[in-house]
């Protein structure tokens, strides 16, 4: 009984912390509304450094940075928001506006249609949503299986067998979705250029030739790492090396 009490207390503590965070979040929003973007941004940053995250938090922080005219920071936060909720229209719209302020215009190479379909399918639910679905469908499959085994008549067995198979398939799909989303959120391989302008080199060596130049706010993708150097790829397929100091991971 004692440990149960302890658990309940822990739970209560947790919720009270979360309650406090929500209040802080509202205070930051109030600062934003009054036009004090600098203090609003630092309040949001404080929440993040306390270990909280949410798509709305990143989104609001990105907006504050946008209002402060520091575009790369705005893009970084909006990209983080998009990672957590890819289908949020507000996030997409503001990200598009922020990207217009970036000097480099990069034309993304079109993805294969089934890859983009798959990606938008995975984007349909959050990691939590996929996880919940996976668990529920697994329970359903197990329940159908048990009923199938207990069944006496043929038609009853047929129905339960079909139910079990369908829920097993749904379960496999939602587990795949879960792991894809978790993978994407956990090992982020994208970053935003923060240096006002940086020369992308042909090799991980400052003496190597300059391939092209990037300006702040451009989104890049990591491919490889050598010490402080990262092999990067742009949305248009250009590849080069730059120092990790010039970028910040989403």
């Amino acid at each position: 009984m004692r440990w149960l009490k302890f658990l309940a207390m822990l739970f209560f503590l947790q919720t009270s912390f979360a309650q406090e965070a929500v209040i802080q979040f509202e205070q930051a929003n109030q600062l934003y509304r009054s036009g004090d973007y600098v203090r609003a941004a630092s309040a949001y940053e404080g929440l993040i450094s306390n270990g909280y995250e949410s798509a709305a938090l990143y989104y609001n922080l990105g907006n504050a940075y946008f209002k402060m005219d520091s575009i790369p920071a705005a893009i970084l936060q909006l990209e983080r928001a998009r990672l957590l909720s890819p289908r949020d229209e507000d996030v997409q719209y503001n990200l598009r506006l922020a990207n217009l302020r970036v000097i480099d215009k990069i034309e993304p190479i079109p993805q294969l249609f089934f890859l983009s379909w798959w990606k938008s399918f995975i984007d349909m639910f959050s990691a939590d949503g996929w996880g919940m679905m996976a668990v529920v469908s697994l329970w359903c499959a197990a329940a159908f299986g048990v009923i199938f085994m207990l069944g006496r008549t043929v038609t009853f067995q047929r129905i339960t067998f079909l139910g079990a198979v369908v829920s097993l398939m749904l379960c496999a799909l939602s587990f795949t979705g879960t792991f894809q989303r978790v993978q994407r959120e956990r090992n982020v391989q994208s970053a935003i250029v923060f240096s006002p302008s940086v020369s992308v080199k042909s090799a991980p060596d400052p003496q190597s030739t300059d391939l092209f130049i990037l300006h702040e706010g451009v989104k890049i993708e990591f491919m490889d790492a050598v010490g402080e150097w990262r092999k990067i790829r742009l949305a248009d397929g250009k590849v080069g090396w730059l120092s990790v100091e010039d970028v910040r991971v989403i």
Binding site: E53, N60, D90, Y93, R96, L97, V182, S199, I213
Partner: protein
């Protein structure tokens, strides 16, 4: 008459004229021309130029002639030169000319080696690009009244720069071959060989007017007397002299150890480089000056390759020279002025650049390196987005719009990394149904095994047992033991059904058998027949009045029923 006139039309002003129309020179022979020469000057960025057209003319006849005006179009206007009046008078009589011609051999003999031109160089062997000073000297022991250079050496293979010589011929004395000569320097050139190998220094030709004594061809005594050199009957004649061509050996520069940034500079140089400011704003230009000073082929120096970051817009350098030719050495400085315009804010690094030259004294390459420059570029006053290109119309419309407002209200904040799929609950909830399912599955399997063994055994042995019992019953039938027969038949039927349907003997009842058989899909007729037969047996067992014929019927019915049930249950 017989002399040459040099005529030059000059147009000065910025930009060139077009459609130059010379006057007609009908009264003159055109010996040369038009010789166009352009002269361009750039002072503080403004260009001024002059164009001149030169002619060399010789009159055809005596008299007064007018050279008409020449015209040229300049900035849309037509400009005309003034007409020139020329008077051609009678010159030396042609007959005398002929005589002079005849005397030339005589004069040549008389002049002999008393007048010659010589070219000297300061070194016979040198490196490509090294300075060579060639001096054209005139050596004379006779009176030279006047001289003019008629053929300027073309000096192919060299880049040449005239060195200053006094306008007035300054004579020194020099002894050549035991004879004393008066020597004057006509021309001094600094030469920079452009290629290696044996290069020749072209001869120079001058026409000198010299005083020679003429011998009168007469036997007159007085003439004889006055032919004495003391009473020198002197005559001025034109005489052409030419220097001997000269060869110099030009060594190629060593091919090994050529440093980066070497572009043919030979001599001794130093390099200075400086930025006019270290801090600027975007789109505001800065100037990088590189000054190379020293001795050597300064005018052939190429701008050092400046490798600026692509964000700096670099323009071709402006070159200004400050060259002195004193002391026979070309020295001074050449300044390259690079205009750099940073387009975006940020720290820009201008990497060091190299300038290399071949040191003549040390006979080795020397590489000079500039320092690295750091340029801090702040945000310019202009909007940075103005520089961005490739924005579609739709995007331009969007640029003016504001971002969407922040989210508030019902917001779920969670601890970073605390997501459901990674939590204990998730794992537990996904493992539990699998474990539960398989647990139930194995439980069912085991129970079936335990239960199934007994039931199956009874089922399989049902026929054997019933046949055994029927044989037993037949014995009783044959022995007319009525009571035993019925007991045995009833037991056989009950036992068979109990075994076949898996019903324990204690639970056997007509009701249980009926529902069980109905559930197994046995025909209702068979079931009712079976039940009535069992009832008959029970009844007849205890009823006294019964005959052998009835016993026979019951036995056959029981056998038929068993085979019928056996068929239907299969």
């Amino acid at each position: 008459m017989g002399e040459q006139i040099q005529l030059t039309f000059t147009l000065s002003g910025s930009g060139g004229g077009s459609d130059f129309r010379p006057p007609s020179f009908n009264d003159f022979l055109t010996l040369s021309g038009p010789n166009r020469s352009d002269n361009m000057q750039i002072i503080n960025g403004s260009v001024s130029s002059s164009v001149s057209y030169g002619y060399i003319l010789q009159p055809r006849a005596e008299g007064k002639f007018t050279i008409g005006p020449a015209s040229i179009k300049y900035n849309g206007r037509e400009l005309r030169s003034q007409p020139i009046l020329i008077e051609v008078t009678k010159g030396a009589p042609p007959s005398k000319q002929g005589q002079k011609q005849a005397d030339n051999t005589d004069i040549g003999k008389q002049i002999g080696d008393n007048l010659f031109l010589k070219v000297t160089v300061d070194k016979p062997r040198l490196y490509q690009g090294e300075q060579l000073t060639a001096t054209y000297k005139i050596y004379t022991r006779i009176a030279v009244m006047n001289y003019g250079i008629t053929k300027v050496p073309s000096l192919t293979g060299f880049w040449s720069e005239d060195l200053e010589v006094p306008k007035q011929l300054q004579l020194t004395t020099e002894v050549v071959g035991g004879k004393q000569y008066r020597v004057g320097i006509l021309k001094k050139v600094a030469l920079f060989p452009q290629r290696s190998g044996s290069l020749s220094i072209d001869p120079m030709e001058t026409e000198c007017v010299v005083q020679v004594q003429t011998k009168r061809r007469s036997n007159d005594f007085f003439d004889q007397f006055f032919n004495d050199p003391f009473f020198g009957n002197v005559q001025q004649v034109k005489y052409k002299v030419q220097s001997e061509p000269m060869k110099v050996a030009v060594l190629p520069l060593p091919s090994s150890g050529v440093p980066k940034g070497f572009a043919g500079a030979v001599g001794k140089f130093s390099m200075e480089a400086w930025l006019d400011k270290r801090q600027t704003k975007a789109n505001e230009p800065v100037t990088l000056r590189v000054k190379i000073s020293g001795t050597g082929n300064l005018k052939l120096l190429e701008a050092p390759a400046l490798n600026v970051p692509p964000d700096l817009e670099k323009y071709d350098p402006k070159i200004s020279d400050n060259v002195t030719k004193q002391g026979d050495r070309i020295s001074g400085s050449r300044t390259f002025e690079y205009l750099l315009i940073p387009r975006h804010p940020g720290d820009q690094k201008i990497p060091p650049f190299q300038f290399a030259y071949f040191d003549i004294e040390g006979k080795s390459y020397v590489s000079l390196s500039s320092p690295e420059f750091l340029l801090t570029v702040e945000k310019g006053t202009e909007n940075a987005t103005a520089a961005a290109s490739g924005i579609s119309k739709e995007d331009v419309k969007l640029l003016g719009e504001d971002i969407r407002f922040i989210k508030s209200g019902q917001v779920q904040l969670r601890r970073r990394g605390e997501i459901f799929p990674g939590s204990f609950v998730f794992y537990a909830a996904s493992i539990f149904p699998v474990v539960a399912f398989f647990g139930f599955f194995f439980y069912l399997k085991r129970r079936e095994k335990v239960m199934g063994n007994a039931v199956m055994l009874r089922n399989r042995r049902a026929r054997k047992v019933v046949r055994q019992r029927l044989i037993e019953a037949k014995k009783f039938l044959d022995g007319k033991k009525r009571e035993e027969f019925y007991a045995e038949a009833s037991r056989a039927l009950w036992g068979y059904i109990g075994d076949k349907l898996g019903i324990p003997p204690a639970d056997l009842s007509t009701e249980a058998v009926k529902t069980s058989l109905d559930g197994r899909g046995i025909a209702a007729e068979t079931v009712s027949k079976l039940l009535s037969t069992i009832e008959n047996c029970e009844y007849a067992r205890f009823a006294p009045s019964s005959d052998a014929g009835q016993m026979e019927t019951v036995y056959n019915e029981a056998a038929a029923l068993i085979s019928s049930i056996e068929d239907q249950l299969r």
